[in-house]
């Protein structure tokens, strides 16, 4: 080891506090980057592998009913490589141990055989497939079974096509169609109350009178085929059979959620590490600049001895590289550890046969390159200064820091301040860039904490609008097919039902110019109070007697506004078509819909106002009896219970958002503490003599601390509003990422969030300041009498 290297290690040890703080910021930045990128890659790889091994279909479609022979025509569509027709039904289940009725998607298995060229193949976790001739054996999704403590051999009750049946679980499986297992229209998985069941095609077709026919299909595309063209061709073929528009993988709910989640990880993997590495660059710069200032005479001596500029430059660059290298090493370990942890968290929501955590060599190299770039970036200016220092000048001590009356003095603003505050303000103003960057570093931390709480606030705001204003029913009952209004009477007679508001949901294709969207049109009555349309300020919008109200998001997708006309094509029943004026736009945060007056819609369709289901207001005390009845009500295809949904959402929020808050708060603490600790240490190093002489003059430790820490206190106080604004801006930029068809997160941040972020900043700044502040007690009062500068 050369002498210079030994000096390097000694310097590192001497400055260990700042080295540690800087390395910590680097390690968190690298850690966050590695965690998120490795999680992203692991999930993406697991998805790709799952989809290809289990032959996840490319195009999906539902229809009313078509003969099996149509499959031949479907297979002949150019670009189609395989077609799988099936029967898929929504059913209500009675699950042992679950008070409320559960909903399930019951899907037929092709010919009882698995393998071959079938699409969406199951991954059998335990048990077996239903026996060829069985009509009561089912395979259940493992997630649903686990949530309800069901196992192979368990029995569940179900209403199949109006008849009560007991089904036997013979196997548990996973399906690429349900990596994210949500029911129709659901945003968060409720694995107790929604599941997927697979049954023999034969048995299922018999139960639903679908022998020789199908009502659902999926197909795969040949290499290079256009999904758009195939979908159009499928739609044309299915139109006479009550086809409900085919859709590609991008719109397949499970895949869509997974894609959205990956997109979110990608966003987080970009801006969070970027903040940390920017702060790390700043810390490396200040640390190195100070070190070089302290070692001026040492540098001069080395130059006088004949050390080349390049060698001296390398010496300081090595110093930066060692600090960042330390942070990098810790960051890689942290990243690997938390990445694996995050994958375990994702396993609760996304179900793969194999979800292996991968931390590839390429990612390690990538993270290393970024960290090294940060080290070089941070040290460049300071190192250049060391190189340029002429030996003769460097032998002299650094000239005293010069101050001049600044803008603040000239404006007379300083006059009112006490002397200590003047000194603080001038010290900050003398190095405006350093002050601004410190402030930004602390501000970025505040912003990080704000962003960490954003989901919490936004989802709370969404739920407030959705559950308090838009959907106020206690229970939603959906029939397996449209019924006459008479069905309301039987619902009214169910135990505990206080109010029944029937609704009609018409699946439709809404067209405007060359744009078209598949959406449902909900028919409501003026007297309805449970389901309400709301505007952006949560005020009720009355359904107009004529014309259509569109969800704002849907209107945007169709590029229409109030006053425009759209073309509506009914996808069920008689497939009527009509033109309707868009009268208003509504702002409900969940789902995409058109809304019409029930009588107006019935008139347009020439129907006798049939109903698809009903919204119920119920007496809480009689809920168990109501649920028991609903489990055995023949015509019911799905039951959704508000309190259960709310509870599920709360559980998920508590699980994942609190984790998010903790992680982001931890990030904030590291950033603030890193910046403040370094700044105070540098201030102490620069002004140690100044402060010690004040102690000699009789200033107490507290007063000296005020002078030393006042700068950081002031910066932190300024940084808090800046950080809150920055955080709000980032959240505002994140909002479009959550502007989805299924739900739209509002831009909402509460005072509690800003307060919390401010407290985190103040607390961690205070903590860092205390750690350094303790050194004031050890200021050398005697040395100051004899030393210069």
């Amino acid at each position: 080891m050369s002498r210079l290297h030994r000096a390097l290690l000694r310097d590192l040890w001497h400055l260990r506090g700042q080295v540690f703080a800087t390395a910590l910021v680097v390690s968190v930045g690298v850690g966050a980057f590695v965690t998120m990128v490795s999680t992203y890659r692991s999930l993406a790889a697991a998805r790709a592998e799952y989809y290809s091994t289990y032959r996840f279909a490319d195009v999906f479609a539902s229809l009313k009913r078509a003969p099996d022979s149509l499959a031949v025509s479907l297979r002949l569509i150019p670009g189609v490589s395989a077609v799988q027709t099936r029967v898929a039904e929504n059913v209500v289940l009675s699950v042992p141990g679950l008070a409320e009725p559960a909903s399930a998607r019951l899907i037929s298995l092709p010919g009882g055989e698995q393998g071959g060229d079938s699409l969406n193949r199951l991954h059998l976790v335990s048990g077996r497939y239903p026996a060829p001739q069985s009509d009561d054996e089912v395979v259940a999704s493992e997630t649903f079974a686990a949530a309800n403590s069901l196992a192979v051999g368990s029995r569940i009750g179900a209403i199949l096509n109006g008849r009560w049946r007991e089904l036997r679980l013979v196997g548990l499986a996973l399906s690429p169609e349900y990596v994210y297992e949500v029911g129709p229209g659901m945003v968060v998985p409720d694995n107790r109350r929604f599941g997927v069941l697979w049954m023999n095609a034969e048995g299922l077709a018999t139960a639903f009178s679908m022998k020789g026919a199908f009502d659902d299909l999926c197909l795969s595309l040949a290499r290079g085929a256009s999904s758009r063209d195939v979908i159009d061709a499928v739609d044309r073929l299915l139109a006479p059979y009550g086809g409900l528009r085919a859709y590609g993988r991008a719109d397949q709910p499970s895949n869509r959620f997974l894609t959205d989640e990956l997109g979110e990880i990608e966003v987080n993997a970009t801006y969070i590490p970027a903040i940390f590495l920017a702060v790390a660059v700043f810390l490396v710069y200040t640390l190195l600049a100070r070190l070089i200032a302290i070692q001026r005479s040492q540098i001069a001596l080395l130059k006088a001895f004949g050390y080349a500029n390049l060698r001296i430059g390398m010496h300081y660059l090595e110093f930066a590289l060692l600090i960042v290298g330390l942070g990098l090493a810790v960051g890689l370990i942290l990243g690997g550890y938390f990445g694996a942890g995050l994958i375990r968290v994702y396993q609760q929501y996304f179900h793969f046969p194999v979800l292996r955590y991968r931390l590839g060599v390429s990612l390690i190299l990538f993270a290393t390159a970024i960290a090294l770039a940060a080290a070089v970036g941070g040290s460049l200016t300071a190192v250049r200064r060391a190189i340029r220092l002429p030996p003769a000048e460097a032998m002299r001590p650094e000239p005293p820091r010069s101050f001049q009356a600044g803008v603040l003095d000239r404006a007379g603003l300083m006059r009112r301040l006490d002397t200590v505050t003047k000194a603080i303000v001038r010290n900050l103003a003398r190095r405006p860039w350093r002050a601004a960057l410190s402030m930004l570093g602390i501000g970025a931390a505040v912003a990080t904490v704000v962003v960490g709480r954003f989901m919490f606030d936004a989802v709370n705001a969404l739920m407030a609008v959705h559950f308090d204003s838009a959907q106020r029913e206690d229970v939603t009952v959906t029939f397996n097919e449209t019924r006459s209004r008479g069905a309301v009477t039987s619902l009214r007679e169910l135990p505990g039902v206080l109010r029944v508001e029937p609704f009609r949901v018409m699946p439709a294709l809404i067209r405007a110019g060359h744009r078209e969207e598949r959406a449902s049109v909900l028919a409501l009555r003026p007297s309805d109070t449970l389901r309400q349309l709301v505007d952006a300020r949560r005020r009720r919008i009355d359904v107009p007697a004529k014309g259509l109200v569109l969800t704002r998001k849907l209107a945007r997708m169709l590029a229409v506004g109030e006053g425009d006309h759209v073309f509506v094509e009914q996808l069920d029943g008689r497939r009527r078509q009509f033109t309707a004026a868009v009268v208003r736009l509504s702002d409900e945060p969940v789902g995409l819909s058109g809304y019409m007056d029930a009588d107006a819609l019935a008139g347009l369709l020439g129907e006798d106002a049939p109903i698809s289901g009903a919204l119920l207001q119920v007496d809480k005390s009689r809920e168990p009896a109501l649920y028991a009845s609903l489990k055995r009500t023949p015509a019911v295809a799905a039951v959704s219970i508000r309190s259960a949904t709310l509870q599920t959402i709360r559980e998920i929020m508590n699980r994942s958002f609190i984790l998010m808050t903790i992680v982001m708060t931890g990030f904030g603490i590291v950033l603030v503490a890193g910046v403040v600790y370094n700044s105070v240490r540098i201030a102490l190093s620069e002004r140690g003599n100044e402060l010690a002489s004040l102690r000699v003059l009789g200033f107490t430790r507290g007063e000296v601390a005020q002078l030393l820490l006042g700068e950081q206190a002031l910066l932190t106080l300024v940084a808090i509003p800046v950080g809150c604004a920055l955080g709000a801006l980032i959240c505002r930029l994140l909002v479009p990422a959550f502007d989805r068809e299924l739900f739209r997160l509002p831009f909402a941040l509460t005072g509690a969030t800003f307060g919390f972020a401010s407290l985190v900043a103040l607390g961690s700044a205070g903590l860092a300041a205390c750690v350094v502040g303790g050194r004031i007690a050890h200021l050398d009062l005697i040395a100051v009498l004899k030393s210069r500068e």
Partner: protein, 240 residues
């Protein structure tokens, strides 16, 4: 001589020794010092480097405590005082003038003085004190805009502004050129004369001794000689 005619001792030093440990070696910086400093005196403590004069100043100034012996300031015992008590002693009774001035570079001349008067109980007007040291026209200059002599005079003004009972000056001319140094000494002598402040100057510059009431010469940590000057020379009259 009756006790009532001699000024009362402000500080009493009895049998003070100071020992440092430097690695394996014990350094005896002071050995059994006895000394009294009286109100209104100008005392010069003279000694070569290593004579212990700085150590003595540190102990008198409340920056350090002796290993043995007793130091009293009026009725306070400093030799076993806590850090807090020593801080209060320095704050309320002592003024310091450093060799390298040690002004806050971020504050103007006036503000440097104000910094101290803000925490003092019976402070003089900062402007007046600065005028007294001849800097009435430099009030709003920052240290980096002042010459060394001017900076030292700001430091003296800072020390005097709180009306200390004792003013300790550590090589006050040590980093100044000859004429500037003399100017600074003049200011110190005037403060002693006009304000009656007990001024203690430590220096290795023997010429300065001529302006003292008493000269204490230290050698190897002990007092070699205490000399009383019957007549004090003016700062102008001395030369080195």
């Amino acid at each position: 001589m009756s006790a009532s005619r001699i000024p009362l001792p402000v500080m009493q030093v009895r049998g003070v020794s100071k020992t440092y440990r430097l690695g394996e070696v014990e350094v005896h910086a002071l050995r059994g010092i006895d000394l009294e400093l009286r109100a209104g005196e100008l005392v010069v403590i003279l000694g070569a480097s290593g004579s212990g004069k700085s150590t003595l100043l540190n102990i008198l100034g409340g920056l350090d405590i002796p290993t043995r012996g007793e130091v009293r300031y009026r009725d306070h015992v400093l030799s076993d005082a806590s850090d807090r008590e020593l801080t209060r002693y320095r704050r309320e009774h002592v003024g310091f003038v450093f060799q390298f001035f040690n002004l806050l570079p971020s504050l103007t001349a006036l503000e440097n003085v104000e910094l101290v008067t803000e925490i003092a109980e019976h402070a003089l007007s900062p402007r007046e004190v600065l005028e007294r040291v001849g800097l009435g026209d430099r009030l709003h200059h920052f240290p980096s805009q002042l010459s060394g002599g001017e900076q030292q005079r700001v430091a003296i003004a800072r020390a005097l502004a709180k009306q200390p009972d004792v003013l300790f000056c550590d090589e006050p001319t040590g980093s100044l050129d000859y004429p500037t140094g003399k100017r600074v000494l003049e200011v110190l002598a005037r403060a002693n004369r006009e304000l009656g402040t007990l001024v203690v100057v430590i220096t290795h510059n023997a010429a300065i001794a001529a302006m003292a009431n008493r000269v204490v010469r230290l050698s190897s940590g002990g007092i070699a000689e205490i000399r009383v000057n019957p007549v004090q020379a003016s700062a102008e009259a001395i030369s080195w």
